[in-house]
Amino acid sequence: MDVRTEHLGAAMIVRATGRIDQTTAPAFQEELLNAVTLSKGQAIVVDMSSVDFVSSVGLRALMIALKQTQSGGGKLLIAALTPTVREVFEISRFDTVFRCFATVDAALAEAQS
């Protein structure tokens, strides 16, 4: 699993690749929370287009980041779920918690609205 953050316009994009599970979730969470700190109220878009699988610990990391973002008045948006990860979101009901967009561009458009 690899995870990187970049600024793009009025948003920060966190791009993860690979499998987010018990082993890799701590690094994913650390990067997410760093992004929350650096965002200073800017929207955060999590690009999931290269994530193969996410387990409960990875989903929890997203939830923690969401709570912190919202407490600072910001937005955390999920973009480009792969079919497998979309299934995991639906099974775990995380699709009812997060705002998910089909593409990064769609999420960025929402971030700037």
Partner: protein, 321 residues
Amino acid sequence: MKATIWGCRGSLPVAMSAATVRDKVKSALRTANGRSFRNDAELERFITEELPWPVANSYGGNSSCVQIDTGSEEYVLCDLGSGLREFGAAAIARHGPGKPQIYNIFLSHIHWDHIMGFPFFPASYIPGNKIRIYSCHPDPKLAFTRQQSAPCFPVDFSVLAADIEFIAMQPGKPVQVAGATVRAIKQYHEGDSFGYRFEKDGKAIIYSTDSEHKQDNPEAAALFADFFRRADLVIFDAQYSLAETVSLKEDWGHSSNVAGVELCHMAQAKHLLLYHHEPAFNDEALHRIFLETIRYEQLARPDGQPPLKVSSAFDGMELNV
């Protein structure tokens, strides 16, 4: 060993409404589409093979009660929810009221939905029966006497005629009961709850309900994985979705289907049984969760690990291990 589910529902017993029954009948008649059946066998085949499971069946609505058949003459039960009433009636029907029996009961905890069946347990009113209630809580008797005293119930606990004994148990100190070895583990739930591992002849059944598993505690996960290790059956509290357990219902003391799959994978357990169903869910909703759990097991299964069997508990279900 064999596990029989007498009550699979969490928190509160529920009953199917007349409208729900009519909907099931309508759906079955629509599927039959005017077909006639020559005999009961054809009808049974149609019901089993052609009707969707939640149309032909129901998960049921009794609160927690599971029988563990160890092959002994003595009975072993987990929890005394409303499912106990039907177990008690079946036991009386089997033996008749005049033949004393021994009932060994393992309590997960003393919240109401787990003890509410006891005032309706016929064996407790009949002299000669022995009822041994194993619990890791400091004073479980208090909960029983409170629920069975005025103004809550007309028959006081003190007049019950059976020989009722409360036996203190501790995690890490196994007991031998009805030919099985039984171990306990402390679980995260308001007021504490305890799970049990029943072992006999190389087989193991886990009863673990009213237990919240947090994703930020790998040490606790490892502890439970050890407790569940290579179990033949894990009866697991899956009342909420994973999203609920980390948001609105965090610290409410229950777990999810996703957590159940992941812990069973860690433990290399053989069979996960979803249990302690949310009372707000109808048969279709519970069946959807069951099918989704099978899918999550496929997605999450570690490379090289054999498939984990997944089932969803219903009242009257019997599982041999």
